[in-house]
Subunit: 341 residues, 2 copies
């Protein structure tokens, strides 16, 4: 599925550029990885696309978030009006931006919000299954469809973001199930809860896992029992990007958990993922390890929305620019002894 | 010298933006730091300026580099023709770019190269002093003058780069003297030498330090005995930026050693520095620790030219963009419990 041969050609070409071998470190690796993904010797990653999926979580009723549930809707409106972090960052990187309601708890009648609502939020998985298998499938398809539409509009790199009050709890439950790690290791303060609330959040997740006993390798079972609609949609979006050979720049904790779900839907999709950043949410480190991805930046962020990926995007862009440097022969620069091994 | 009050105002303002408190991590700190430096509530860092100083090093005669000395000149020509890594990165960040010959070993008659030549390279400090005190002063002044000229042209953030075959040896000697750390801890492969050559490079530096016994707190003594013309100029450029309240985004090992020299010329200049990246050159970590600066990115780079700072620049730019987000009240978003402590 990857263009290995073109990746190797790019690797050799990079050694002809006017710089010591390997001296651009991770940028060189990025250029090779993206050449393999896209099959292009001089890949383009602009314009990137930022696709934010919003949904509500029944688990929010357990008091696991620092914010009331209506903030999901309020932030969706903030997204279409351009006031959120992901808006200013998207603008900075010249991204095509869209926000998709895949399961907000109320009707959002606002121009600019793409309506793919599957349900008015998930059920509270502390007591019952989060959703039906059919809802999972519809959410995955909505994500797939919207990412495909963005790719049709010409994006060359996909950033998938999310908004959903309570979704670090959902993502933590999914990760605990998939990783087999203990909940206490994975759960942090989310967007800003305090120690007592963290203990409560952990207990809620532990009880839910006992109740549902999800199958760690079955993405449909995981999402049905303890999933989120936006997480399902994000996984679907990643499937579309991989299928179309478009690099996926991962955001934070929720997004990386969605990536693990996508991996369980199709193992190949992982080859199209680049880890944008590592957030301070403790589960994120574990999720990145499971994916075997090294983040580009660690900036102590924990916002979501796609913001960490957007901040990392210029590094990917720089790696593509690197390929347009002069070569030793074109610039008449002497090669060093590292070229004569 | 810093606008502390404005920094505190910006800190409070950031907590009103539509995101959980502290959730943009290092970006929030950057915005506050730059507000303190510039005295602006909504600071601009664009356009950045990239100022590359080139000079040769007599110590290169000791066979400490993977590249022959003529590469300094060849790369200066590559810079003005736009083929080097720093060119493609400068273009990407919309930087005003200039290259200054402050001590290349031959005459460089090429349009676009700013001539501030102080000497045809330094002397070989394995055997004699690198330069005279007067040459040090002229090089510092050249850097100061060129950075001032760029600031006059409107740059809002200064990146100082360098080119000089042999200059990791010079910088390692300076850092060993300033830090008191043993040479073996600081010296790595530079732009690409192998184990045997590293041992030789370390021995050359140790002997030079024994010979000259430079005064660790006297920047003139350090530069005279074991310095480099471009390192002196970089330090001078930093003095100009700090004086004009322009943030300095530090590049890699050589640049950070120049920053330590600048600090010894004027302690205040450190408050205007932001560490762009951490290179794989082992001395860079030590130099950043001495400056008490945490790098924005670690991408296994080791090129110099200002390239690491240029790659980090978009993160600084994002931090400024963040300040243009909506506030909770302007966007009608409910605040979370983290706002009611």
């Amino acid at each position: 599925m990857l263009y290995e041969q073109i990746g190797e050609e790019v690797r050799n070409y990079i050694d002809q550029l006017t710089k010591p071998r390997g001296s651009l470190g991770r940028l060189e690796e990025l250029a090779i990885e993206i050449a393999k993904m896209t099959g292009e010797r001089f890949p383009r990653v602009t314009p990137p696309g930022v696709l934010v999926f919003a949904a509500d979580h029944g688990i929010a009723k357990e008091g696991v978030s620092a914010y009331p549930q209506e903030v999901t809707t309020q932030m969706v409106l903030n997204f279409v009006r351009g006031g959120a972090a992901i808006n200013v960052f998207s603008q900075q990187i010249g991204a095509i931006f869209a926000v998709v309601d895949v399961g907000v708890a109320v009707d959002v009648d606002e121009e600019g919000v793409i309506n793919e609502k599957v349900a008015y939020g998930t059920k509270n998985f502390a007591h019952e299954q989060a959703m039906t298998k059919e809802e999972v499938e519809r959410a995955v398809q909505a994500g797939y469809r919207q990412a495909s539409a963005m790719i049709d509009r010409g994006i060359r790199c996909l950033i998938v973001g999310e908004m959903g009050i309570g979704n670090t709890t959902t993502a933590s439950a999914l990760l605990a199930a998939m990783s087999g790690r203990c909940v206490a290791e994975l759960v942090g303060k989310g967007t800003g809860i305090h120690d007592e609330a963290i203990a409560h959040k952990r207990a809620v997740i532990e009880r839910a896992l006992m109740l549902h006993q999800p199958n760690a390798s079955d993405p449909l079972d995981l999402l049905t029992k303890i999933g989120g609609l936006e997480i399902a949609a994000m996984a679907g979006a990643m499937l579309a990007a991989a299928e179309r050979h478009v690099p996926i720049l991962l955001d934070g904790f929720i997004c990386t958990v969605a990536a693990l779900i996508a991996q369980r839907l199709n193992e190949q999709v992982v080859h199209y993922m680049i880890a944008g950043h590592e957030s301070v949410e403790p589960g994120h480190h574990v999720a990145l390890q499971l994916l075997n991805k090294e983040p580009l930046v660690r900036l102590h962020m924990r916002l979501g929305e796609g913001s960490g990926a957007a901040v990392a995007f210029p590094i990917v862009h720089m790696a593509m620019a690197m390929l347009h440097m002069a070569t030793f022969s074109s610039a008449n620069v002497s090669t060093g002894s590292d070229h004569h091994e």
